[in-house]
């Protein structure tokens, strides 16, 4: 007796992370879903200009999607747009490059398909929304804050207030102590005290340290008041931390427009 392969259907809301062309007119979309984690599915015929789905399966869109499980690839059977952030993001190069680095990070931090990661989903959606709404926060700061918090969700939160090795608060971070520089070691996992400081540790400024702390905590008032040198130094350290934890670097990170 033969019977058609029963296709399981499920519905979820999702963020479109990536789109890749497939064949003549289809597209493989990588979705970060709220309840099913990262899922790859085919959008059939979406590149034809007659497709109703095309605009809804663009990168950075928050969508309501119905997916049919297939034996090899899943298929998008229904999709409605909740907020299609791609339009705003695509019209601003700094937002576009920052959003690209955010979705690539989300993809890399969800190595297993269909493994729910609700907190990372919400964090990623929030960051993409900040870039897709007319938010006046700087796109590179939104990105760096996202990267720090996404690393924290993966268990890689850098030590920013006490020594990553011994746990003591370094003198440079105590109030009222002179302008002694803080040591920061990427392999050690953040700030290190004078005793634990390994060779080759970076020496970020006090302004950089307070920016990193503000970004990790989502303190936008402090972060927004930071100056150019602190932002450059902070983003360099965030990128180095991420690179240390991921096996390969992100392709999009060097292309982020930080002007």
């Amino acid at each position: 007796m033969s019977r058609a392969y029963p296709r399981k259907l499920y519905r979820d809301d999702a963020l479109v992370l990536r789109c890749q062309k497939l064949g003549e007119a289809d597209r493989i979309v990588t979705l970060f879903t709220r309840r099913h984690g990262r899922v790859r599915a085919v959008g059939k015929g979406v590149r034809r200009t007659t497709s109703r789905f095309g605009a809804r399966l663009e990168p950075f869109g928050h969508i309501d999607v119905q997916i049919a499980e297939g034996r090899s690839l899943h298929v998008v059977s229904q999709v409605e747009g909740i907020s299609l952030y791609g339009r705003r993001i695509g019209s601003d190069y700094a937002r576009y490059t920052a959003a690209s680095a955010i979705v690539e990070t989300a993809e890399r931090l969800t190595p297993e398909e269909q493994e729910p990661a609700l907190r990372l989903y919400l964090l990623t959606l929030g960051a993409v929304r900040a870039l897709g709404d007319d938010d006046d926060r700087s796109p590179p700061l939104i990105l760096d804050s996202y990267l720090l918090r996404a690393m924290a969700l993966s268990g890689w939160a850098p030590a920013l207030t006490e020594c990553a090795v011994c746990g003591q608060v370094p003198e440079s971070l105590l109030d009222g102590v002179g302008p002694q520089q803080t040591a920061f070691s990427v392999p050690a996992g953040g700030v290190v005290c004078v005793n634990c400081r390994p060779p080759g540790a970076a020496a970020p400024s006090t302004a950089t340290m307070s920016l990193l702390t503000a970004l990790a905590a989502g303190d936008w008032k402090t972060a927004g008041a930071s100056d150019g040198p602190a932002r450059r130094q902070a983003s360099g350290l965030v990128a180095a931390l991420l690179q240390w934890h991921l096996e390969r670097g992100l392709r999009s990170l060097p292309l982020v427009d930080r002007r």
Partner: protein, 199 residues
């Protein structure tokens, strides 16, 4: 797994875009059972495309000489330059019969996720062409999707200080579609209704 030549062919076909292992196998066996003359023609076409087709040294469209047919055409105007992602977009726009200027083929769109940044496209060459001073209007006809929009935005910012009018095809092209799939009438209208791009 098959042996020798047939498996080699399946493997090579399977590396083509959009060809899965099953299709690769089907095509390989189709070729195996086809007439010798048909297969020879296919093999010749494959070899010729690499030997004879090059990229135009001016616009990077496909060409069989140093310069493509469009760049050599003296009846076309140098004042309007249309930027597209791929040679197939040139074909789509030529079909509309609406455009009498020149082209510049970028070779793709800026896509950080795929590691494609401005330096990987023919943007430096575009800037050199524009600095010649002949171009009065630059039409950005990248695909109406997020990558295409972002590429257009990037170019518009870059060109802004040069004082050249920058336009984008009219909306009406559905977002998410490939330019090459737009029918002549829709694409023709999008050309006519192009608007200044403010950045």
């Amino acid at each position: 797994m098959y042996e020798g030549a047939i498996q080699d062919l399946i493997d090579e076909l399977g590396r083509l875009p959009g060809v899965g292992p099953k299709s690769a196998q089907r095509i390989a066996f189709h070729i195996l059972s086809a007439e010798q003359a048909d297969v020879t023609r296919l093999a010749t076409a494959l070899r010729r495309v690499k030997e004879q087709v090059r990229f135009c040294r001016i616009c990077f469209n496909v060409a069989e000489a140093d310069e493509c047919r469009i760049c050599r055409d003296a009846r076309r105007t140098d004042e309007v330059l249309c930027v597209v992602e791929e040679p197939k977009d040139v074909v789509a726009i030529e079909r509309t019969g609406e455009f009498r200027g020149r082209y510049h083929v970028l070779g793709g769109a800026i896509n950080p996720l795929e590691g494609v940044g401005p330096d990987n496209l023919r943007i430096r060459e575009l800037m050199t062409r524009l600095s010649g001073g002949a171009v009065k209007e630059l039409i950005l006809a990248t695909d109406p999707n997020t990558e295409g929009e972002a590429t257009a935005t990037y170019l518009a910012l870059l060109v802004k200080p040069m004082g050249i009018a920058v336009t984008r095809l009219a909306s009406g092209l559905p977002v998410g579609g490939d330019l090459e799939y737009a029918d002549e009438i829709t694409l023709g209208r999008a050309f006519e209704g192009r608007r200044a791009l403010d950045v």
